[in-house]
């Protein structure tokens, strides 16, 4: 193997999943390409974290609906990851002599890209998921991994015990050594949830990946197979506690809530660590004499003639005169026509709410969240409900 330039740590970002709990929002795009916070994509968070953490080599493993994601990442220039050595590399599944294999699981995806990792001969490999909103310095986690001489370090966050059954839960001893890992336990004994962020020693990880491939029973998943196997072998597994904001945006409700959280606390940061992104480059937004804006995030290219409250507006949204938008997340290039009302909804890209039409139902009256797929036209007098699949 020709080594281009040795890197201490290479990040491998799992971006191939559909995120089926996001339903219509991920019918045409992969979950990491879903718009968040008005001008970001979810993948901006791990990519920015890598750059800010001093990790300049990132392999992005794609599989499901990758067109938009590939285009978005480009050469990595928007994250300063267009480097001579390293930077961002897109790693789709590929054929090789004797096999043509899709990524059958998260561990298998890394297994299939071992040549990429070997190019940089790293000491450590950082495994990242592409479906969380958070700011984290992986460099500090790596220092921790080294200082405790771990075989594997897993980032964890405390969750309310009542929610613990939705997560992969770590049981640890007093030194944060992981003693047991339970995927979505019915009766959780602890509240330390895995954030899906792992650091491994590469040589060791590679051995486990080979073993895992040989096991016909394995689903080739880090959480379900690889980490339990390492625990069985009494490897040194440590939990790394993270205290900042971290939100899984894997469901429609959590995506809506994570957007709304920005109105209370704009945790995307300022000059020191703001989230890097490929922005559209549209003119500033315009608010007309008839417009009214309360407690809202608005970004470039929007034109507001109506009233907007407690909402997030993405690039190029037009709210016409007399229209009302409340408690909603509006994606790129949506048009809300005259006197239309949008309540407690997610409107995906290029949706049109026709004149006088109603989208969603009032949150204060106990309505539930409605999600409208991209390119939907919502007409007046046809109160559309989401089709549950």
């Amino acid at each position: 193997m020709v080594i281009a330039e040795r890197k201490e740590c290479v990040a491998m970002l799992l971006a191939g999943g559909r995120g089926s709990r996001l339903k219509s929002l991920t019918e045409q795009i992969a979950k990491p390409a879903v718009t968040f916070g008005g001008k970001y994509k979810i993948i901006d968070f791990p990519l920015t974290n890598c750059v800010r953490s001093g990790i300049d080599t990132v392999g992005v493993m794609t599989q499901y609906q990758p067109l938009l994601l590939h285009d978005y990442i480009g050469k990595g220039q928007h994250w300063d990851l267009d480097l001579l050595h390293g930077g961002v590399s897109i790693l789709p599944p590929h054929s090789k002599p004797g096999s043509t294999a899709w990524y059958s699981g998260t561990a298998n995806a890394v297994y299939q890209n071992q040549n990429f990792i070997d190019t940089f001969a790293p000491e450590y490999v950082l495994i990242l998921a592409g479906d969380h909103v958070y700011k984290m310095d992986y460099g500090i986690m790596l220092e921790y991994h080294k200082s405790v001489n771990a075989d594997c370090t897993i980032a964890v966050i405390e969750v309310p015990i009542k929610d613990a059954h939705r997560f992969g839960i770590m049981n640890t001893d007093e030194n944060d050594v992981i003693t047991k890992f339970e995927e979505k336990p019915e009766e959780p004994k602890n509240n330390l949830a895995s954030m899906g962020i792992y650091i491994f020693n590469w040589r060791e990880l590679r051995e486990y990946l080979y073993e895992d491939e040989k096991n016909p029973e394995s689903t080739h998943d880090f959480g379900k197979d690889l980490i339990p196997a390492m625990l069985r072998d009494d490897k040194r597994m440590f939990a790394y506690r993270f205290n900042g904001y971290w939100k899984d945006v894997g469901t429609e409700e959590s995506l809506w809530q994570a957007n709304m959280d920005l109105l209370d606390d704009l945790h995307l940061g300022f000059e020191d660590w703001h989230i890097l992104s490929r922005t559209a480059g549209r003119p500033p937004h315009y608010i007309a004499p008839t417009g009214s804006i309360k407690n809202t995030l608005i970004t470039e290219g929007c034109e507001i003639y109506g009233s907007v409250e407690n909402s997030i507006l993405s690039v190029g949204v037009i709210v016409e005169e007399g229209a009302i938008v409340r408690d909603s997340v509006i994606m790129d290039n949506v048009r809300i026509c005259k006197s239309a009302v949008v309540d407690y909804s997610i409107l995906d890209e290029n949706t049109v709410v026709a004149e006088g039409a109603q989208a969603g139902e009032s949150r204060t009256d106990g309505g539930s969240l409605n999600v409208y797929p991209r390119h939907t036209i919502i007409e007046a007098n046809k109160f559309m409900r989401r089709k549950d699949k």
């Binding site: 928007h78 480059g281 549209r282 003119p283 500033p284 937004h285 004499p289 417009g291 608005i298 470039e300």
Partner: protein
């Protein structure tokens, strides 16, 4: 292959404390752009990828803004952006010595290239133009120079810098005039001239001074009898920013959304600028906004009327901002009030302060001033 050459003039006005203002090409426009973005975008949109920037004074922020030209797709192996700053003609004679003409070096640069036509463009003019039809027309007509103009009224702050063409029936330019006091429509030069490389080199031979005004009023005017100079009309939105007053007037025109849309989306051509990934703008629960253009990264709690607000500006609760242009990172603290004020970057208006200018006399507050 065609090349572009951007010229502009130094800012003729001074800020409130008498300090010079950055060169006109680097002046802000419509909340997130610099004037030079328009000509760079126009050239790239016209497939002109080899662009020279003739620099005059206070050009630090201009160079910083353009960099390698990455945002315009100009960080390339062939072509790209080349800067031509003024040198001292003879270093040994010290700093007060005459400047060596960047135009001469641009001419040498062009002479060595395989460039066919040169578009000389005033980079303090705002418009969204495709040069290709004008270049085609120039080629077919056999003219020495094709000058682009618009039929426009002159506004009051524009008289000093306006270049007005006399155009004969055949479209030939027969005179280069100053603006009169009448309110009639005139043939206003947009400062864009198309010519062959050879004509450019002849026209600028020995020329040391590098401003756009001199190029139009002296070089071109003197050549009208020797050369065939034809006119080419541009019908889209255009604005020439040449002073604090015109800066204020034409920025405020962007509050007319029709004008804004014709400028930024004309025939599908986009204007590019340096992107900094500011956060979306956050409006508080008591924000009152009317007829304003607001860039990203702002936090607005107070009242904003008929104003243009650039990136990362904060307006505190109870503050009232009317008819203002607030440039990057201006902070207006609680209960302050501003009317017809232009703040340069990083200005701070402290709590309860009140400042007022007038529409034809906006007050320009210099960079990083704390009031």
């Amino acid at each position: 292959m065609n090349a572009g050459l951007c010229l502009s003039d130094p800012h003729p006005d001074r800020a409130g404390d008498g300090s010079p203002i950055r060169t006109l090409s680097a002046a802000h426009y419509a909340g997130r752009y610099r004037l030079v973005d328009f000509m760079l975008s126009n050239m790239v949109n016209s497939k002109i990828f080899s662009i020279g920037m003739i620099l005059n004074s206070h050009y630090q922020s201009l160079i910083g803004h353009i960099g390698m030209g990455k945002e315009w797709g100009l960080a390339r192996k062939s072509g790209g952006v080349t800067f031509f700053p003024p040198y001292h003609a003879d270093e040994r004679k010290g700093v007060n010595n005459e400047l060596d003409g960047p135009l001469q070096r641009a001419a040498e640069f062009l002479a060595e290239s395989n460039v066919e036509y040169v578009v000389v463009a005033d980079s303090s003019v705002v418009c969204n133009m495709d040069y290709r039809p004008a270049i085609d027309s120039h080629r077919k007509s056999g003219a020495d120079v094709t000058a682009i103009y618009a039929k426009k009224h002159i506004i009051s702050g524009e008289r000093e810098s306006a270049v007005v063409f006399d155009i004969s029936e055949g479209g030939r330019i027969t005179g280069v005039e100053r603006a009169s006091n009448s309110s009639e429509t005139v043939n206003l030069s947009l400062g864009s001239y198309i010519m062959s490389k050879k004509t450019f080199i002849t026209l600028t031979a020995g020329e040391k001074i590098c401003g756009m005004l001199r190029f139009s009023r002296v070089l071109l005017a003197d050549a009208l009898e020797r050369l065939t100079v034809l006119s080419y009309e541009f019908r889209g939105y255009s604005a020439h920013i040449s002073s604090v007053e015109t800066f204020f007037h034409y920025n405020m025109e962007m509050l007319d959304i029709e004008k804004q849309n014709t400028l930024f989306n004309f025939e599908g051509r986009r204007i590019s600028t340096n992107r900094r990934d500011s956060l979306p703008t956050k409006y508080g629960k008591n924000a009152q906004i009317q007829n304003s253009l607001v860039a990203d990264g702002c936090q607005i709690e107070g009242t904003l009327i008929n104003s243009i607000v650039c990136r990362n500006v904060r307006i505190g609760a109870g503050a009232v901002v009317k008819n203002c242009i607030l440039q990057d990172s201006t902070i207006v603290e609680k209960n302050a009030s501003l009317d017809c004020i232009i703040t340069d970057r990083q200005v701070v208006i402290s709590e309860n302060r009140g400042l007022m200018g007038y529409r034809t006399y906006p007050v320009y507050i210099e960079r990083a001033r704390v009031i």
